[in-house]
Symmetry: C2
Subunit: 400 residues, 2 copies
């Protein structure tokens, strides 16, 4: 063995070379750097670039033109070239605690920061992210030294959609060891998203871990579905092959997903230790997921006692003829006659769906249906949906 | 409700605008495109670029200089600028079935393909990936329409390392519903990797799903640990804060991880329906994980009946004084006297650890210890580790 060891030591100083070759050529630049005063410095080595910019939601918004009108978009700031072709930008002011996303623009080409492997996919774009902690809410997004739940990618069979489909399931810390039964919260993504969206962009596992550890939320199972009824799973995770994410998916907002939803509830109740009754079930979703939550909860009025509409897309598609969208007012009447424990509507004051939500609230008001309304600043963005999640979860299963 | 719907329909054509703003500005370029004849076309829109290249493991290797010598690195090919600033390169020949990785070089700056959201992190680099199927082995890497196991991120407490730590656990299809007990395969990553490496770069869940569905492997639980004893979890998933991946981690290859390993086995046997005995336990790992598998299996000779060393780093660190590395020959004598069901050594003929593995085999040969040897082409790369996994798994638990 001595000989083996001595030969090995000849390359022993080459520990770094043992890394899977990817390590060679890794960036030596620190970016982003959160400075002591909570300003943030971005750096990119690009000696041949003419113009380098950073764009992200940490900058003041600016109007962007789309085929559908003008909306607030992320701002842009210029980096300045320094020594050795390293470009740099430091925010003029401290950033408030939040999870932020950004990308670089190099001569107009959008690229990720090669010094930051921490990226999240949102629909068809990858963005780098960084977290500024330090207040009670943003600290909920961080992994803390508390008991952690388990996050599982689980497949269920959907007879009505004719395929095996993937779910993300959060079970709270202690689930594996105990015999206790838990309430279940179904949490739905928006258009272009999938079963990964809430754990990645939404920090759902961290928010649940931290709220439960602080005693501010009941221990619960959280089921994050894939609401694209034509797909099995997220891009790259499906036997249907790789599909570039798009909003132009088949079977979207035409009733199939809502109709198939009881299959998911049945699967969860069969395979997990759930409290399988209405007062221990919640459903909420963002944008298209809010649309789904609204329709599913009224379609099956004995299934969910807690309903959350986060920036909900209160609209059916054009030319949609599913029975799910028939007699909406009649079904709402049945649902509200049963007095849901919580019907929570939240939206940003700059959301392009603000007016549609206002009109929907008017309808509920006219009928005297009881709901809770939460209006926040900003538009149709993940910052709001994370905030809504931190506020919705503590209200769940308090009557149970 | 009529009014709500009609107002909604005013923006109804704007379905695309409901996507979380990230969709605006998403690439309209198709890249990579796998053509009918299995050539592949790469495209990048970069009107202001002077030079655009693609680099990846689908190209013939070329020598690269490192501080530790010259090794085979990925090749580079030039894209040619066409209309509207869209650069393009098509491989001159069909690519063999394989999972490939690549990045672009734009005027020397390494960037990911903005048209392909399918990326995998390897140590400190993100690369895009694509899969060419069509042969029996590469098809094992694809998600097929077969029963799927569950992949969970699970936390366990390590008293010896003083922290909660994260594992990836694969449970085979049907685990949730049944009462059956399963054998357990512990699968370890290399330096710079973490508990995500084998499911992401290694396609472990797909390989297991497919081999089990084909009847070529026993249904088994696979536990993928984090072998960096100073860390809780992968970057961004730890309460220790975000750490840029590096090989210069504390507590690496100095005995702590090996010493703590029985805590993991105990946790798994307590929380899962395992066959909790030696003949139903396997351990294997790549590079540093092969080093760990070698040391753990000899340190605890009654724990594992199946051992796999994939391109193993057969070397202790310098100045390492852990008892784990004392009396290696004596411990091997004990381990091999107990006649392991399988001791499998695999390495590529261009691996920089080839000589160290040859020397280790000589030591085993001199003692008359029985092992199986598998030599493949190529070097210290994931292509080989996926191949080894597809070959190792079918040999497991056949004596049980």
């Amino acid at each position: 063995m001595k000989k083996v060891i001595s030969i090995a030591l000849m390359i022993g100083v080459a520990f770094a070379s043992m890394a899977q070759q990817a390590l060679w050529g890794a960036s030596q630049i620190k970016s982003p750097e959160v400075n002591d005063n909570n300003t943030v410095t971005f750096r990119l080595k690009a000696p041949k670039a003419v113009k380098v910019q950073v764009t992200g939601d940490f900058l003041p918004t600016q109007p962007i033109q789309t085929p559908f009108g003008t909306f607030d978009g992320p701002g842009v700031a210029d980096l300045v070239e320094g020594e050795n072709g390293v470009w740099e930008y430091t925010t003029p002011e401290a950033l408030a605690p939040e999870l932020y996303s950004y990308t670089f623009l190099v001569d107009g080409l959008k690229i990720n920061d090669p010094s930051n492997v921490f990226v999240i996919r949102d629909t068809a774009s990858l963005t780098n992210v960084f977290l500024i902690g330090g207040d009670e809410r943003a600290d909920l997004y961080a992994v803390k030294d508390v008991p952690h739940g388990t996050v599982s990618k689980v497949w269920y069979n959907s007879p009505s959609l004719g395929m095996n489909r993937r779910l993300t399931v959060y079970t709270p810390a202690g689930y594996e060891k105990g015999s206790q039964r838990y309430p279940v919260f179904y949490l739905l993504h928006g258009m272009g998203g999938d079963e990964n969206a809430w754990t990645e962009l939404g920090r759902a596992a961290q928010i649940l871990d931290n709220l439960i550890a602080q005693g501010k939320a009941e221990p619960m199972i959280v089921v994050m579905t894939n609401g694209n009824a034509g797909l099995e799973a997220a891009p790259g995770e499906s036997s249907l092959g790789y599909t570039q994410p798009t909003t132009a998916l088949p079977k979207t907002m035409e009733g199939s997903f809502e109709t198939s939803f009881p299959e998911i509830v049945k699967f969860i109740d069969k395979n997990y230790r759930t409290k399988a009754n209405k007062k221990n079930r919640a459903i909420a979703g963002l944008s298209m997921g809010g649309f789904h939550s609204m329709h599913i909860s009224k379609q099956y009025p004995d299934m969910f006692d807690y309903v959350g509409l986060f920036s909900a897309a209160i609209m059916p598609g054009q030319n949609v003829t599913s029975p799910v969208y028939d007699d909406i007012e009649g079904k709402l009447a049945v649902q509200f006659a049963k007095k849901p424990a919580l019907y929570w509507i939240a939206i940003g004051d700059k959301d392009f769906l603000y007016q549609a939500n206002t009109d929907y609230r008017k309808l509920l008001d006219n009928k005297g249906y009881k709901y809770t309304y939460r209006e926040s600043p900003d538009g149709h963005i993940w910052k709001n949906w994370r905030i809504y999640l931190t506020e919705f979860v503590p209200q769940l299963f308090r009557k149970a």
